[in-house]
């Protein structure tokens, strides 16, 4: 993996060093690191000559910019009304039971983090969740168990298209 300071310099070369370049750079770091550490934020602040507090303010404003250490796979389960009505809670219990973590926690092996999110726009195929950038919908406890098992079995290598043809 690219060292964070190199990554930030490369992102700044690509997106510029203006105040408006901050967001794509934050996204770029999250893409690789899954979260923004204190070190990443001070490096970004230094690279763009911005106050570190402003970087922190921006990072905490956006839901998909994490600022606490995250696992390799971030599970974001939709908690909004439709998903909630279509059994989101059963899905949540299944995930918690399988991974032995609660919302906001990361598995000890550093592979999975579990978060809740607001509407993903998949109300018509509720309940839905994201694992990193992959969408999984019309979830049932069985299905979610299969999905997670495939992630676990691939030893964190990542697996796509698990019964996901409808997306």
């Amino acid at each position: 993996m690219e060292p964070i300071s190199d990554l930030i310099r490369r992102l700044a070369d690509r997106y510029g060093r203006e105040r408006s370049s901050l967001l794509p750079i934050l996204q770029g770091v999250v893409e690789q690191e899954k979260f923004l550490s204190e070190y990443s934020m001070t490096e970004i602040a230094r690279e763009l000559n911005l106050p570190a507090a402003d970087v922190y303010g921006t990072a905490t404003f956006y839901s998909f910019l994490e600022y606490k250490k995250m696992g390799r796979y971030i599970i974001r389960l939709c908690k909004t009304i439709t998903c909630s009505m279509k059994g989101e809670n059963q899905i949540l219990l299944t995930i918690q039971d399988l991974l032995k973590i609660k919302v906001g926690e990361t598995t000890p092996d550093g592979n999975f983090s579990l978060l809740q999110t607001n509407c993903l726009g998949f109300c018509h195929k509720a309940p839905a969740m994201l694992i990193n950038n992959e969408v999984y919908n019309e979830l049932t406890p069985e299905k979610v168990r299969d999905i997670l098992t495939s992630y676990i079995n691939s030893n964190g290598g990542g697996i796509k298209n698990v019964n996901n043809s409808s997306t």
């Binding site: 934020m41 106050p51 507090a53 404003f61």
Partner: protein, 596 residues
């Protein structure tokens, strides 16, 4: 002349310049609109909505502070709709505000409390959200306490920290109901780039940001029969204190302040202006030495420009933001710390007091001084040089607590020994003052003549312009300074850390060639300090500055090197400026800090 536009406010026509906000137009027309997030020092935010007004033809209410006047606009500020809306807005703000007013440091001087009082908020129609949130108080800083439960998110502090000071220690983080004003990674104010200048405290409408007060500690010391509690007062306090105690801004209350301090029970009431004069002797000599090394000896490692070191907010700023420029700082301690070091050595010896029994208190217009006094470097007397630092506001509180009728006090003068000062020491309280005082002395040391300005008033360095420049050409100097003949001494003055940053960037980029720069952390210099009475705004700063210069003009001695006590202390104790003893007691070192 520019075209003026006509608007009507509550049916009365008024003419204003284009671009005037409805709020300003109303105030010009004698109509008061309440505000909260608005402050004259800062850009318009329009986020508190307390200043809502009705505009004819518009369905929605508008924020008066953020609405520019348009020709023919009809504004209504006192309709039922406006009044009810304002009341609801205040109630909503209160529902998220820890309104335990009786136990709040800002009780009696809180803008939200005043609004609640004006609009008589007697009921609670909205759920009090405070119990549902988990607030902690950040009181790790020796200067500033941050209590989020009292924060109404008007962002005056954030704008102050960014616009006036370019420090950006505070930011808005998270969103919606979780939005809060915080620092980088929610660290303590003590662990971030905060300079402790206290401008956020001075601009906070509520008790969310307050100075850490040491009132009870000082009362305890005063009550201790075994202690000699001595006090020094900074030059800017005497032109601000009156505002807290019933006088109009710009009133000089030097004599009354001394009388009040004596009544409070201080063993000796002394003047920081004395060490301000001493600072000029040390710093002026340091400047001349550096000029000599650079121009006569031709040394290239000499750090010029020399930057002043009186303002502890500025010191912490340069330590954080320009750590590579620490060599440019004068090694002189601030007048407060020089005073502290001398009180427990020179003064103790002269008065035959055991220095361990001296409690040294200082009254400062400043919250950063609290931090400065706690710095580990500041123990050269063998003790902590300054034990407690009180702001102008804290002194006013003590005077009120003591039941002193300030208005009726008879003027008294400072105690002798470290109580004598000159006009040069007094003007330390205003931006440009240190520069002016230094030039008055340095020019005379070099040429043997007074500075070539009428009545010693070096007007180019006065006033409220953010960055001021002045040049003096040295002509016909004394023999030992002959190498300075014809040299043009370039000086600059910056006040407010945003302006300090402009000057420092120019210095770093080599765009300017200054020899000497005065930096003050607060807008207007110390008279606009973070520990001065609330409110402080451009108009009030101007009046305090006038008072400072009036005080200077009225002094019999106006040049630091004329101060008889300064002459005496060099003769009897210190030896000479930059001498061995001065070096030990009056000079200090700086450290590099992180920039976040």
């Amino acid at each position: 002349m520019e075209k003026r536009i006509k608007i009507t406010i509550n049916g009365e026509t008024t003419e204003v310049q284009p671009g005037t906000s409805v709020l300003d137009a109303a105030h010009q027309a004698g109509v008061i609109i309440p505000t909260l997030c608005y402050h004259k020092d800062l850009c318009v935010a329009g986020n508190c909505r307390v200043c809502v007004i009705e505009i004819a033809g518009q369905k929605r209410l508008a924020a008066a502070c953020a609405t520019p006047c348009e020709d023919g606009m009809e504004v209504l500020t006192n309709t039922l709709k406006v009044r009810n809306s304002r009341k609801h807005i205040i109630e909503l703000l209160l529902s998220e505000h820890n309104a335990e007013c009786t136990s709040c440091y800002r009780n009696g001087n809180c803008e939200l409390q005043k609004l609640a009082s004006d609009y008589k908020i007697m009921t609670q129609d909205f759920i009090d959200l405070i119990p549902f949130k988990n607030f902690t108080i950040d009181n790790f800083s020796p200067s500033i306490i941050k209590d989020d439960s009292k924060c109404i998110k008007c962002q005056r502090c954030v704008r102050t920290c960014a616009e006036l000071q370019s420090v950006n220690a505070l930011t808005m983080a998270y969103k919606g109901e979780h939005a809060m004003i915080t620092t980088f990674f929610e660290k303590s104010m003590n662990d971030v780039v905060c300079t402790n200048c206290g401008q956020c405290v001075n601009h906070c409408p509520t008790g969310a940001l307050t100075e850490k007060n040491y009132i009870e500690e000082v009362w305890s010391a005063l009550a201790d029969k075994n202690k000699f509690v001595v006090v020094q007062t900074a030059p800017a306090v005497r032109v601000g204190l009156g505002e807290e105690l019933g006088f109009d801004p710009g009133k000089r209350v030097t004599g009354k302040m001394v009388a009040a301090l004596k009544r409070l029970g201080f063993y000796a009431v002394m003047d920081t202006d004395f060490t301000a004069d001493l600072t000029i002797m040390e710093e002026g000599t340091e400047l001349l030495m550096r000029l000599k090394d650079a121009l006569y000896e031709g040394r290239e490692d000499v750090k010029l420009p020399l930057a002043t070191s009186c303002s502890p907010g500025w010191i912490k700023f340069i330590e954080h933001i320009y750590p590579d420029f620490l060599g440019h700082l004068s090694s002189c301690k601030s007048p407060q710390q020089m005073f502290g070091a001398l009180v427990k050595t020179y003064y103790a010896k002269a008065r035959k007091i055991n220095p361990s029994k001296i409690v040294s208190v200082s009254i400062m217009p400043c919250t950063a001084k609290k931090f400065e006094a706690a710095r580990p470097e500041m123990r050269d007397s063998g003790f902590r040089d300054v034990d407690y630092v009180l702001t102008t506001r804290e002194l006013a509180i003590m005077i009120k607590q003591a039941g002193i009728d300030f208005l009726k006090l008879q003027d008294m003068s400072f105690d002798r020994l470290m109580g004598e000062s000159t006009g040069a020491g007094v003007i330390f309280g205003a931006t440009g003052g240190v520069m002016e005082a230094a030039l008055r002395t340095a020019y005379e040391i070099v040429t043997g003549r007074e500075v070539p300005f009428e009545n010693l008033n070096i007007t180019p360095v006065r006033g409220m312009e953010g960055v001021k420049e002045a040049s003096i050409t040295i002509e016909d100097p004394l023999k030992e300074w002959a190498f300075l003949d014809g040299v043009q001494l370039n000086c600059a003055v910056a006040h407010g850390l945003a302006n300090a940053k402009i000057v420092m960037d120019a210095v770093r980029d080599g765009k300017v060639k200054y020899h000497f720069i005065e930096f003050m952390a607060c807008p207007g210099g110390c008279l606009g300090g973070g520990g001065q009475p609330i409110p402080t705004n451009p108009e009030i700063r101007k009046r305090r500055a006038q008072a400072i210069y009036a005080e200077d003009a009225g002094m019999p001695l106006r040049k630091s090197h004329q101060n008889p006590e300064v002459i005496k202390i060099y003769k009897e104790f210190l030896g000479k400026p930059l001498g061995e003893k001065s070096h030990k007691l009056l000079h200090t070192t700086y450290i590099k800090r992180t920039n976040f």
